[in-house]
């Protein structure tokens, strides 16, 4: 059993159902300040200066290392650097262990800087939000990667924040093919205090919000892959297997809290028919994470797996 503070079963079920885990203010101010110092000063807007040039200089000057894809995550950042210290925080290490297992592999990272209107006006570009997309490419796996979004300073609503649509992580789409979806019911915008972390399933639909404030917004993203099993890596002492299926459809009142209740809670954007497919795919993901091939919630897979051959 790991000594780390692992995620409990209901928190894991929440991640399986909604594809995200938010930790507000999890990173101490000292590490936030160190990280922002490592990023360095960002030059102010200058007439005629293209934003691409300003951004390129920020990336080049920042004391964030270039790291080869496939490096063990534990060796990605120099000892004592802000990111190394962040990843060593027990609450962060415990969540990573629960979600992607032991010794994950570094995939890539990126320093996202979103500039206020003055930079766009000076450079002659348009200040718009990023199209909604799913990172990487079509990913048919049941296994998933983890993306950690780190917000080292406060993010207000005018600053834009990362926009994401809870529950979209199980949709098999191709990157920005979904860019025409400007707004989806239930979308969230990351408005948060300094040191907040957003753990995302790699399938989550998301995009950077337009910055309408007067200061730059900085977010650092790290993607990691499992290098071993993702199965039963969370706090198994909190995992209870229901003795029987819950009653379904005809209910006389609210059901008590449970993993099943979490997995069967719809999102505001669910379509009538594919919302049921989302439930089925959540059950399949929970089977994967728990190593319990016979698990079901609300009879969705039990009904379909009855081949009447007995």
């Amino acid at each position: 059993m790991s000594e780390l503070p692992l995620l409990d079963a209901r928190t894991m079920a929440g991640f399986a159902a909604r594809g995200f885990l938010r930790m507000d203010g999890a990173v101490p101010e000292e590490i936030n300040a160190q990280f922002l110092a490592e990023v360095g000063e960002i030059a102010g807007p200058e007439p005629g200066r293209k934003l691409r040039r300003t951004y390129g200089e920020v990336l080049a000057r920042a004391a964030v290392p270039e790291v080869p894809a496939g490096t063990p995550l534990a060796r990605a950042y120099p000892q004592g650097s802000a990111m190394a210290r962040l990843l060593e925080l027990p609450v962060v290490a415990g969540a990573i262990r629960s979600l992607v297992g032991e010794a994950p592999t570094f995939d890539h990272h990126f320093l996202h800087v979103t500039f206020p209107p003055a930079y766009h006006e000076a450079g002659g570009g348009e200040n718009v939000s990023q199209h909604t997309h799913q990172d990487s490419t079509i990913d048919p796996r049941q296994a998933f990667d983890l993306q950690i979004m780190y917000y080292p300073h406060e993010v207000t609503r005018p600053m834009g924040g990362t926009r994401f649509v809870p529950g979209t992580h199980l949709r098999k789409v191709s990157e920005a093919a979904l860019g025409r979806y400007q707004n989806v019911r239930g979308q969230q915008h990351m408005v948060c205090g300094a040191g907040t972390l957003l753990f995302l399933h790699s399938g989550m639909w998301h995009g950077g919000g337009v910055n309408l404030s007067d200061r730059t917004r900085t977010m650092f993203k790290v993607r990691m892959n499992p290098s071993a099993s993702q199965v039963r890596q969370f706090d198994l002492s909190t995992l209870e297997r229901a003795a029987a299926q819950r009653p379904i459809f005809y209910l006389k009142g609210p059901q008590p809290p449970s993993v099943e209740q979490i997995l069967m809670t719809p999102e505001p954007w669910f379509e009538d028919d594919t919302g049921r497919l989302e439930f089925i795919n959540r059950v399949k993901l929970w089977r994967y994470l728990t190593g319990d091939a016979g698990y079901d919630a609300d009879y969705w897979l039990t009904r379909l797996e009855n081949l009447a051959t007995a």
Binding site: R163, Q182, T274
Partner: protein, 91 residues
């Protein structure tokens, strides 16, 4: 000059009077600029409400049979309806 403004609504099923779950707008007159994440509440509750407000439907997504072996796969939003309004703008 005539310019087209487009409204795309994503509904909960193939009925035009079902609820809106997603929406996008593109304004060819240039008077407004819509973009991702610019509204958290839909402009209409249903597609029918958009019709009643003067939007003209010009395309609806087809209902297609499910691919054998991939019946439980989910991907793009399924019930997409395109509407337009035409406006005169000064040349």
């Amino acid at each position: 000059m005539r310019r087209q403004t487009v409204l795309v609504l994503y509904l909960t099923n193939s009925a035009l009077d079902s609820a809106v779950v997603g929406w996008s707008r593109y304004d060819g007159t240039g008077q407004t600029r819509h973009m991702a994440g610019d509204a958290d509440e839909p402009p209409y509750r249903t597609g029918l409400e958009a019709l009643k407000d003067g939007w003209r439907l010009f395309q609806a997504s087809q209902l297609l049979p499910h691919t054998p072996g991939a019946e439980f796969d989910v991907s793009y939003l399924k019930y997409e309806f395109w509407f337009e309004q035409l406006s005169e703008v000064a040349p």
